[in-house]
């Protein structure tokens, strides 16, 4: 079954990098992109993706706020944060906001595929820089 992914980051060049990585995986499709939290919420409602790859720091509405809203609006959607913040505190906030996964941007090329695979199967995946790599059922 195809996994349909929505990419959300305010930097187009980062979205491009994430997209090339994700589309190299057979059976995964990037069905849309958004550049801030508000657009992410709108597009998630329109496109009904399986997984959202979401940045934290964005203009208009940040990723944490978007995540909290999406938990209400699209309860079936699995959310994976990909962020600069290599911080256990931020990771905790993300999971408390309702995300299923958390990956640090500097390690995205290493961790992203495993993380999307995990969250698409409704498993938690968290990986901070060089420590705490965890995948939980």
């Amino acid at each position: 079954m195809t996994i349909r992914i929505l990419l959300v980051d305010d930097h187009p060049i980062v979205r491009q990098g994430l997209k090339t990585l994700l589309e190299g995986h057979s059976g995964w499709e990037v069905i849309g992109e958004a550049s801030d939290g508000a657009e992410a919420v709108e597009k998630a409602k329109d496109l009904n993706p399986d997984v959202m790859v979401l940045d934290v720091t964005m203009p208009r509405m940040n990723g944490l706020e978007a995540c909290r809203l999406l938990r209400q609006e699209c309860p079936a959607l699995e959310i994976l944060f990909v962020t600069q913040h290599d911080s256990p505190q931020m990771m905790r906030e993300a999971l408390e906001a309702g995300a299923r996964g958390y990956v640090v941007k500097s390690n995205a090329a290493r961790d992203l595929l495993a993380a999307v695979d995990a969250v698409s199967h409704h498993r938690v995946f968290t990986a901070l820089n060089g420590r705490n790599v965890a995948e939980l059922r």
Partner: protein, 236 residues
Amino acid sequence: MKLRILLADDHEIVRRGLRALLEKHEGWEVCGEASDGREAVEKALQLNPDVVIVDIGMPNLNGLDTTRQLLQHDPHFKVIVLTITDSDQVIREALDAGARGFVLKSDAARDLVSAVEALQNKRMFFTPRVNDLVLAGFLEKGQTVSRNEAPKLPTLTAREREITQLLAEGNSSKEVASLLNLSTKTVETHRSNIMRKLSFHSIRDLVVYAIKNNLIQIELPPPPPKTPTGPGPAAA
């Protein structure tokens, strides 16, 4: 003959994005990648690229000092600086370092191809937002980007800046010595000189200095939400 480009950014995902963007352009190839400034200098000397694209906020050696080192080795290197910030100080430092192009990371998808084309044609490129900012600075009273108005700070040598960055990133003197192939004693001497020149007494002062002077960059967490939060997390 193809235009050969070297990419330096500490995020592989950004390098992937940049590579995908640049390689769509006929006649251009990404001949190499580096994940920090030191590796960028090494690879540039090995590969002799036509254009080097460097991120400012890289570990070990930041993009501005990378640009300085590259041009010290060979003034013919053409460097485009990629940055997340367009502050006057960063623009001025990039120009001082000898960059021929200045592109905001947020605008890279739009501007980077134009920047490389400009350098290919022996011109410089500054992202339009920066041009507006510089112009506004000249036009508005009391806001000039003149070098004369730069804050007066004691001048560190290139080596001292390099060591300051490494110390501010959390490396010990021994680790810095190992990274730079110096003795620990030499690093300790540089460290004392840096602290004396800047009148600092703690590593905390040095970290603040490194952030303020763009030797290292940090990302601040987003501000707390203005509205009450929704329901709790989904079951893991």
